[in-house]
Every structure is written in structure tokens, then in C-alpha cells.
Amino acid sequence: MRVATKSLYQGIQQRILNLSSALKKVNEKVASGKNFSRPSDAPVSMVSALGLRTTLSHIEQYQRNMEIGKLWLNLSETAINQTSGLADRAQKIALQMSNGTQMEETRAILAAEVGHLLDQAISLGNTQLAGKYIFAGYRTRTAPFSRTTVGGIETAEYRGDANDFEIRIGKDEKVSVGKNGQAVFVDTGLFDALGTLKAAIENNDVNLIRQQAGILQQVEDSLNIRLADVGIRQNRLMGKQEVLATLNKNIQDRLADTENIDYARAILELKERQTAYEVALAASAKISELSLQDYLR
């Protein structure tokens, strides 16, 4: 084939340009550590990387939500546990008093203790997390329990609402981390039992005291059931946390696989391209030296 002198040089130019553009691409990869820097470099990988990033952002958010949920549940656990202890102490007092003959003085002291127990129970019902009352339903800004007297019996009044505070821990998964005070405390009959017991001790009504001992046992049992319920939800969160932690790691690995280059391969490729470029330059220099003119002297 005839080769025009111009196309000889154009060929050299074109090939060197191609090689240097390929060299630039590999160089970019190695420098950035990424497989692609614009959508058209690898559209499919980019779309899947975007999906992975969104999933990752969901997971991280669920993980944060669960941290908050754990705070709520741990605090609930402590409060219910202590309340259950109060009920236990009150029941012991009731049993002690149901034996009948007690000194007037002892009765007064124990009645006062039961009164204190009621105060403590109310204060536990008003447990706060970062300024929020956790047993108030949605009315987290108002103390849900306050002392009141109904028909001459001291008890607590609930001013929260009947809602539970829920957090999201998955796409269609929610868990209630803040049960309302009505369900946790009022419904067990704790406050009424304490108030009634106090009045019964003051009036030395042994039958009523005996009856309250039985009721307080039931109250304690109910509180323990609620405690177990908190435990179940804590376990659920912990289980979910483990799953999400594994998932998070897996997705980060996959994201790295999609986005990040394999350095060993990229550097090998860079070396190859470099060599090809150098060889092309050397060959071009040789070719352009050739001319018939050199031989016509």
C-alpha cells in the first residue's frame, strides 16, 4: 500500500494521542482510587453504588434511632424495677401489720413509710430523659404523675395520655420504646394500693391491710410482667443491632468493591501503558529519521 508522508506523521500523532489518553485514564484511577469519576465511566456500577449508599444511610439512621430507643428502654427498666421493689417493700409492711397487735408508734412510723413509698413511686413515674417525661405518652413536657386524694385515700393522678412513643428500626418495622404511664403504673393499681394501705394502717383496719398485702403481690407481679416486656424489646433492639451492624459492614464492603480500584491491577496496568507509550515514542523517533534524501548524496 502507498503511504502518504503526511499520513505517516498523522498516524504517529494519532497513536501517541490514543496512548496518552489511555495513560491519563489509568493515572486518574490510581490517583483517585476510584473506578469511576463520572456517571458515563460506569453507569451500572454508579447506579448500584448509589443504591448501596442510600441503603447505608437508612441503616445508619436506624442504628441511631436504636441508640435512642435503648436509652428509653434502659431508663424504663430501671424505673419499673425500682417501682417493683417499692411494691415489694409495701407488701412486706402489709404482711407485718396484718398480725394485728401493733404498737400505735410502729403504726405511725410504717404509715409514714408507706406514704414515702407513694411519693417515690410518683417520682419514678415522673422519670425524665433529657428533659422529657418518658411515662407521659406524647405529653413529654408535663410531669405525668402528681399526688392527689380521692375519697380520703391518697393516690396519684395521671395527666399524660394513652399513646406509646415509637421509633423506626427498619423499613416497615417500628418498636415502642416509651409505654405510657397509664399502662405501666396506673393499671397495676399500685398507687391506689399504697394509698389504701396507708389509710388502713392509720385506722388499724387489719382486714383491709391483709387484703392490700394480696393486692400488692399482684401489683408486683404486674410490674414484673412489664419489666419482662421491656426486656423483650431490649433484646429485639440488640438482635436488630447485630443484624444491622453485619449488614452495614457487608454493604460497605460491596460499596468499596464497586467504587474502589484494585490497586495491584491498576498499577500493573499503569506500568503496561507507560511501557507502551515509551515504545511508541521510541519507534516514532526511528521512523521519522528515515528518508530517501539521506541516501542520495
Binding site: R2, V3, Q10, G11, M46, L50, H58, I167, L296
Partner: protein
Amino acid sequence: MQGISAVLNIAKSALRVQQVAMEVASNNIANVNTPGYTRQTALLENQASFLPSATKLGMGVQIASVVQAFDQSITRTIHQNTSVLAENEAKASVLSYLENIFNETSGQGLSQALNEFWSAWQELASNPEGIPERTALLGKGDILWKHFNSMSDQLHQVIRSMNTYLGGAIAELNQTTERIAFLNEKITAAESNGTLANDLRDQRNVLLEKLSGLVGTMYYENENGSLTVMTSDGTPLVEGNQSRKLIQDGNRIISGQGGADISQRLAGGKIGAWLDIRDEIAPQYLANLDELAGTLIQQVNAQHLGGYALSGETGLYFFEDFVTLPALPNSGNFTGAAGFIRLSSDIRGKPANIAAGGISGAPGDNENALRILNIQTDDTSQIRKWTYENRGANRVSNLQNANMDDYYRTLAGDMGILTAGVNQSRDFTQTMLFHLEEARSSISGVNLDEEMTELLKIQRAYEAAAKIIAIVDELLQSLLRV
């Protein structure tokens, strides 16, 4: 005439013809790097004797013609591919800008803004009464709608700038067709005596190649040597010594005064590429971005309206509500939504007005925030996806079941695939054109070594002819000495 003086005449013709041949070779060498130059060769022929003679000897040498080494079919293929390459190059260069608008590889794009917006809702759901969380959500909302606005702005700018590009290309096209018409006239005149106007043809070919880069063309040569040129859809550009101008009028391109709009039909070259971007590619992405923004406004507002602010107020908008029909964007037509979207005056600067509560304004009520979060992962929501064809003459929309994250991801992916495709055909056409040009050069291009050899050959012939004259001179002298 015969005898010694005939030999002298033959030698004289040889000297003259070799000089012309040397001129041709020298001219080839001189134009070794001239773009569009076609190698020329002097065709020599024996000068036949016109006298009746028994021997029928020739009377020397003469130049039959100087011809170009020109291959019509390769040249035509080159023009076609020039058109395709210019189209792909122009498209690729605009697309590389467009794909940057949709560039999500750095983790700074709209996708990220959407993620952060939803995360802010999550934070609010975990602490519905928190003013810091509410303020953060307003901040993320601001970032999100501003991102939509700026993408919409950039797409609009691309569309507008295409008309400026087209204006330049059309001016260049008109200038080129005018020059071709002018050369047509000169070529017809120069060739009327039967010789070939090689250099003028070279010039015309260069112009034709330039024209092909501007728009797809068809052409044929008439018997008188003039070229009739049309666009690939048959709109005449040059006939004989007349060129027909294209005129840009707003979005319209018309051929000659009072003609019809041909902007839908012009294909190939830079003009075709820019029309594709202006009327098809950029508007389609803009329409889909509008759908996404409109869906976001509609779905978030629908849920937000039913919720309660901390004050207990309800019926508040999160994003500015759509305008009323027939103005755009409205609840049935989201055109322009990406440029329209912004926070409503109900909540702008009033974080307490974010309706996180589902049943009351109670500080711990997060029900509505949780419901709004369902939008993020709701795969059953339907979003329209537009496809523009035939420069926007056919606009088809299909309902897609996708959440907004997925919808946007597909959009960004489509852009990447489109750009990669155009880049690929650009590189392919480039390689092909390179090989075609090599093929053309191998026929039409000048090879210096070849010309050098040619010169040597001519030099020897010239020397031999001179030698003949010297011998004839000797012969004559020996005659004179007799």
C-alpha cells in the same frame, strides 16, 4: 519534417515535457502538508506523426493531461463519517456537562441531599419536640430544594445556550455554501475548455468536508462540474452558482425567506447534535426532574397537611403549594416543579410549625413524622417517567412504581448510559475516519520518497534529452566539416 532536424525537435519536446513533469512533482512536494491537497500526476503520451510515412515514427512526447489521484467513493464516505463524528463530538461535549449536573459519584448530588432530608425526618421522629432537630430539618429541606432549583437552572441554561451555538453554526454554514456556489461558478468556467480545474476542486472538497461537519449533507456533481448540495433531508443548500441561506428565527430554522421550519428535520453534524440536545435530550431530563420534584411536593404536603405543629395547629404546608390551574406547576401537571420547589411560608423560619404530630401538638407525638418517612421507602408510589422522541414531537409518559430514591437513581444511570454510548460511538467513528483518511491518503496523499524518485527519473530523462541535442550538434558539425 524528417531527419536530423526531426530528432532535434523530438529532443526539444522531451526537454519541455520533462520540465512540466518536474513542475508537477515539485508542486506535489510543496503541498505535502496542505490539507485537502490531492496528488497530481502528469500523464505523458507519444506525439503521433501526422505525416504519411512508411516508418510511422512518433514525433516526440507531449502532456496528455495533469490528473488528480482522487477516489470519489472514499471521499463520499469520509464526508458522511465527518458528519457523524462532528455530531457525536458536539453531543459528547454537551453531555459531559449534562452528566455533571447528574454526577453522583462524589456523593454530593441530589441523591445525597434526598438522603440527608429523610435522615433529618428520622432525627425529628426520634425527638419530635426538639427545636434543634426541627431547625436541622428545615436546613436540609433548604439544601434539597435549592439543589432541585440549581439542576433545573442548569438544564434550562443548556437548552438556551444551544440556540447561541446553532446561530454560530448556521452563520458558518451559510458562509460555506456561499463559497461552494462561488467555486461552482469558477470550476464550470475553467473546465468549459475540457481541462480539469484540479486546485479549485481541492478547495471545494475542503469546504464540503467542513459543511458535513456542520450538518448531514447529500450532493451530486453535474455534467458541467458544478456540485448540487442538499442537507440529508433534501433541503437544497447549493445549486449551480446559487446558495440557499438557512435563517435562524428563535427556535425555528427556515430555509430561504418565508420557508417552513426545518429544525425538526435537520440531522447530523454539529447542528443535528445541538438540535437533539435542545429539543429532546435536555427537555426529557428536565421533565423527569420536574416529575420527581412535583411528586415530592405532593406527597410530603399531603401527609404534612394532616399533621399537627407543636402549637396544635394543623393544615400547614411543608413545601410551597402548587399554583392553581392553568398556571404551572399544578397538582395535575408538574412542569416546572424542579424550579418552583421551595419551603412554604408556613414553616420557613418557623421550626415549631413542622407537623411532626399525628394526633395533637403534644411534644412527644411523632406519628406524622413516621408517616412522612414512609414516603421515602414507599415502592408503590407512582411517578411519571417521560420519554421524548423525534425532537420532542412525541412525548410519552409511563407510570413507574418506584420510590423517589430509586426513580432518581434510574435517571442518573440513564444519563450515564446515554453519555457512555455517545462517547463510544464518537471514539468508534474517530477510529473509522482515521482509517478512511489513511485509505484516502494512500491514494491522494503525497509521499516524499516517491516524488523524490520521480524527480530522479525526470532528471535522468532530461539529461538524456540534452544528450540527444549534444549528439545532434556533433552530427551537424561533422556535416558542416565535410
